[in-house]
């Protein structure tokens, strides 16, 4: 073709074309993620409120003030407690569920749809189902417990009231939040681990079997070590999604009773948006960043280095 006779070489034109194709996306992301990130840092270093127009530089005062607040320290503790408990639950139950789904059963598509529902349905909508399941008067779980004689008479395992008050007592409320988070993230963990199980070369497992390794030996010494990258991926996404989630706590408890289930994301919302203290709210949310960065970099470098 005559028009290819340009002063640029083919490689140079390819580079230009690649840049032209990639730049719009990069620009959009950098502008709309970059500006808020910078603003978040600026706000956290200033005294700034929704109504006020002027910002006043106060250095690290927002952060030091937060560290002196018992509610904030409690929110940090809750955030880690909820995230790590969910992580353990998802890894253990997800491995079991994935092992089960490897076997042939009838009606697999329906089972698959039902098992995936907690993850595929929007979190803020399925949380409403749990609001009903854990209601202080009408809880279907309490109804079952009463039917089984575990609730509602003197000496019953779950107490002698007619209801458990799942979301009304601090320890139980925290447990409920963890339960709902495990419920919601379990499908994601399961399908990721399942993809890993399907990727394990069958001849290696069969060779181990021929060499006399029993089921548990094969599981722990052959299959699980090969699944380490997949567990890394599960940890990464479960961590990020639970650590930064706001919908579950916001809808189920609003952080109550008496801040017993308050987490950093909800605290940031109540301080920054409803309370109008933008600076304090931004500082609260910024506490998430170092942890997220550390966890992402650690797991990513771990799982990418292990690959042969």
């Amino acid at each position: 073709m005559a028009r290819t006779r340009s002063p640029l070489s083919l490689a140079q034109r390819d580079t230009l074309l690649a840049l032209g194709m990639v730049m719009p996306a990069i620009l959009y992301i950098t502008l709309l993620l970059g500006i808020p990130i910078i603003l978040a840092v600026v706000y956290s270093l200033n005294d700034v409120t929704t109504g006020g127009t002027a910002m006043r530089y106060i250095g690290l005062e927002n952060f030091t003030a937060l560290l002196d607040t018992p509610d904030f320290m409690r929110a940090i503790g809750n955030t880690f407690n909820i995230t790590l408990s969910t992580l353990v639950g998802v890894l253990v139950l997800g491995t079991i569920q994935a092992e089960l789904l490897m076997r042939p059963v009838r009606g697999k598509w329906l089972i698959r749809f039902l098992i995936l529902l907690p993850w595929t349905a929007p979190a803020s909508l399925s949380a409403i189902a749990w609001l009903w399941m854990l209601d202080s008067t009408f809880s279907p779980i309490d109804w079952m417990l009463r039917g089984m004689g575990l609730l509602g008479h003197p000496g019953a395992l779950f107490g002698d009231f007619d209801n458990t008050f799942w979301l009304g007592r601090s320890g139980l409320a925290l447990f409920s939040i963890i339960l709902v988070n495990i419920w919601r993230l379990l499908p994601l963990g399961t399908v990721i681990i399942l993809a890993g199980l399907n990727g394990v070369p069958r001849d290696i497992v069969e060779q181990a079997q021929i060499d006399g390794a029993g089921y548990f030996r094969r599981l722990f010494q052959v299959i699980l070590p090969m699944l380490i990258p997949v567990f890394g991926v599960t940890i990464l996404f479960t961590f990020v999604f639970v650590f930064t989630d706001i919908a579950t706590v916001f809808i189920l408890t609003r952080g109550g009773p008496a801040n017993a289930t308050q987490v950093l994301p909800t605290l940031a919302f109540f301080t920054g948006v409803q309370g109008g203290s933008l600076g304090r709210g931004a500082a609260t949310a910024l506490f998430l960043l170092p942890v997220l960065a550390a966890v992402s970099i650690l797991t990513l470098s771990l799982i990418r280095r292990r690959e042969i």
């Binding site: 032209g20 996306a25 076997r103 089972i111 803020s124 009903w132 991926v233 919908a247 809808i251």
Partner: protein, 290 residues
């Protein structure tokens, strides 16, 4: 790499009847754990007020005749249809923006760019991990600066910040799966690179494009925190915040319409999502593989 079946059957090992029974029992337990809240929503949707508000009535079945009252209330006396419509509008606009930005970016990174394509790809993937929770406070100021507060456009502008990184990453995998020879042949046949991309590569990447459409849509219709922070007018809300904030007023819970609304909005999104979950998993696990 992109189409591995994640629920593949293994040769029947559990042939023993007792083992088989155990397998079914364990699977049933997991299914009940996952689906029970949705089942309760379904039953409650068709229960009468009196049935719902009797603590001794069986919550898992009808104690009186089923009714359509909750649905009538939801569709006729709330803005439910408006909220569904808003969600659809935002979803379609976000899908369009995502396709325009992510498709060329993914192709450029997967094919044309050399070594720095891979690095930039990981960078883009990392930006997907920057959570909206971190940004919604300053982002609401940016939205106010753009004059978009209390408008669906605020969400249309904000959502591509997570759909574009995620979809670019997914599509890079798809483009890498298409053999280079095909477009080289097209270029020998007289296409330049751009037209080879448009006429040869894109049609082959159709399953990838479908995946992107579905995920840009489901991610934006499930999003909660930006919608909660940016939109406060009832009529401008999307479904994921409208149901929990508009149908619960103070301490008054209209359980019937509330659970009906949550269920009706969840199911189409869940069905769409389920069809494409294998592509999602392939994309997520690719960080460990490439």
């Amino acid at each position: 790499m992109t189409n591995e079946p994640t629920m593949q059957a293994e040769p029947a090992r559990a042939r023993h009847p007792a083992r088989r029974g155990g397998l079914y029992l364990a699977t049933a337990l997991f299914v009940v754990f996952s689906a029970l809240p949705f089942y309760v929503m379904l039953i409650t949707t068709f229960k009468t007020q009196a049935d719902i508000f009797t603590p001794t009535a069986n919550p898992f079945w009808f104690s009186g005749p089923p009714t359509l009252d909750n649905l009538r209330l939801l569709f006729e006396q709330t803005l439910f249809v408006q909220w569904l419509w808003n969600t659809l509008l935002v979803g379609v606009a976000v899908v369009a923006i995502t396709l325009v930005l992510a498709v060329p970016a993914a192709y450029g990174l997967a094919r044309i760019a050399g070594g720095w394509g891979e690095t930039l790809g990981i960078g883009i993937f990392l930006s997907y991990l920057v959570p909206p929770t971190l940004l919604f406070i300053p982002f609401s100021k940016v939205i106010a600066f753009l004059g978009l507060q209390n408008s669906l456009w605020a969400l249309v502008v904000a959502y591509p910040t997570f759909t574009v990184p995620f979809c670019t990453w997914l599509l890079m995998g798809f483009f890498k799966g298409i053999p280079r020879d095909i477009e080289e042949q097209a270029m020998i046949d007289g296409h330049d690179r751009w037209s080879a991309f448009l006429h040869v590569v894109l049609p082959l990447a159709l399953p990838g494009l479908m995946t992107v459409v579905v995920f840009a849509f489901t991610l934006s219709s499930s999003e909660f925190i930006y919608a909660l922070a940016f939109v406060t007018h009832s009529a401008d809300k999307t479904i994921s915040i409208a149901v929990p904030t508009e149908l619960i007023r103070g301490d008054v819970y209209h359980w019937g319409p509330l659970l009906a609304g949550a269920l009706i909005a969840s199911i189409p999104i869940a069905v769409l999502y389920t069809f494409f979950i294998d592509q999602l998993v392939a994309g997520l696990t690719a960080v460990a593989r490439d």
